[in-house]
Symmetry: C2
Subunit: 254 residues, 2 copies
Amino acid sequence: VASVRARCLNGLPEVRSGADLGDLIVRAAAEQSPALALADEQIVVLAHKVISKAEGAVVPLQEVRPTRRALQLAGEQDKDPRVVQVVLDQSREILRAQRGVLISRTHHGFVCANAGVDTSNAVDGTVITLPVDPDSSARTLRERLTALTGSSPAVLITDSFGRAWRHGQCDVAIGCAGIEPLDDWRGRKDSSGMELRATWLAVADSIAATADLARAKDSREPVVIVEGLGHLVMRRDGPGAAGLLRAVDEDLFR
Amino acid sequence: VASVRARCLNGLPEVRSGADLGDLIVRAAAEQSPALALADEQIVVLAHKVISKAEGAVVPLQEVRPTRRALQLAGEQDKDPRVVQVVLDQSREILRAQRGVLISRTHHGFVCANAGVDTSNAVDGTVITLPVDPDSSARTLRERLTALTGSSPAVLITDSFGRAWRHGQCDVAIGCAGIEPLDDWRGRKDSSGMELRATWLAVADSIAATADLARAKDSREPVVIVEGLGHLVMRRDGPGAAGLLRAVDEDLFR
């Protein structure tokens, strides 16, 4: 039976700037269960927040000086001007500013609300930004996991993005290593010789969504181990989640 | 350990118009493995194509008479005018016609390429359309599964949709029964008392994406059983996937 399984990694401690995340993951996996010992055909999925924290992608709001543009946008959208300034700093372009939402194209090229700036810690006076280069973060973590265990699982870094036209958020891949983010079946036929319809599968995003289902939202469980997709894991790191981004001039919705 | 598992149901025969899909699923599950016997906390995920076939949502292209608008659009986008006519018949509105792609808002309200019309069988002279009312299809199938087994798993009907800004397709929910499509954590706090960031989770879409990963794309495996999400399954049928649709006047991307 073809089967995919996603399991939450428990027992990861609070991650601080400079933490050796690879070491923390390997220890937590070993403590939790021998079955979670990292293996080549697994995919280690991480909510970006732990990567951002480990890399120090945290901005103290008291150090932020809002520009005139940030003050104006903040007034119009009823937001904290310092948070808006951080969003602007993280954005290549603001696509929409409406209904209290800033839809940004980030410097990486992701289209998402508030440039992925996480304000859920803002009461503490800090906000968390996306990693500067999540594909590089994924490659670095994969290398560290390989050095520690001898196995080379794929690594996938996620964030929760809203979608056009549909309510709610789904997790998507913002960085990956060891997995082809798109599984290309274009032009191939199914078992009856018919051309396949859904033919260019954003598997990295589907894996991100799967991992999020295995997390309890009210607990600290940023890491999920996905098994059963060994055919998607590869030795080389591949193009990363940057490969998922549609070129601006091919984009029908701007 | 929190764990989510998706397993493909093998051995489903070719589904024809009028088929008793509930009966086919229960038989296939019983033959495959006792562990797949349907249970209340499971989610039965179906690629819409089997629902469409069972409901006769299939259009013979030789019966289609393209209108002038279909002929014009087909010429501009280099498509079969009869297929374009079926797409127009299935659409409330064409949002974009560019690069050989028609982005439609269907009568249901889904925004997707070609109104979800599946042309992969077009060589046979037929195309498959989306079910007329996928939420109703899900409720009817759930009722039938309950009558046959005494258990009431949730039922989720999916299609592969492209996305704005990102390459590739992911499966999303187009119909469901027995599951709240959105898991609402807005205003709730995490274990440390911090407000949660990703707070309105499109779980039905994440489950659709998970199920698709368990399918081999070159074989006939439209049905996937998802386990480990019993907390999302409910006795009542709920609002259906229609609850996922953003109102047109709230939509920032048109």
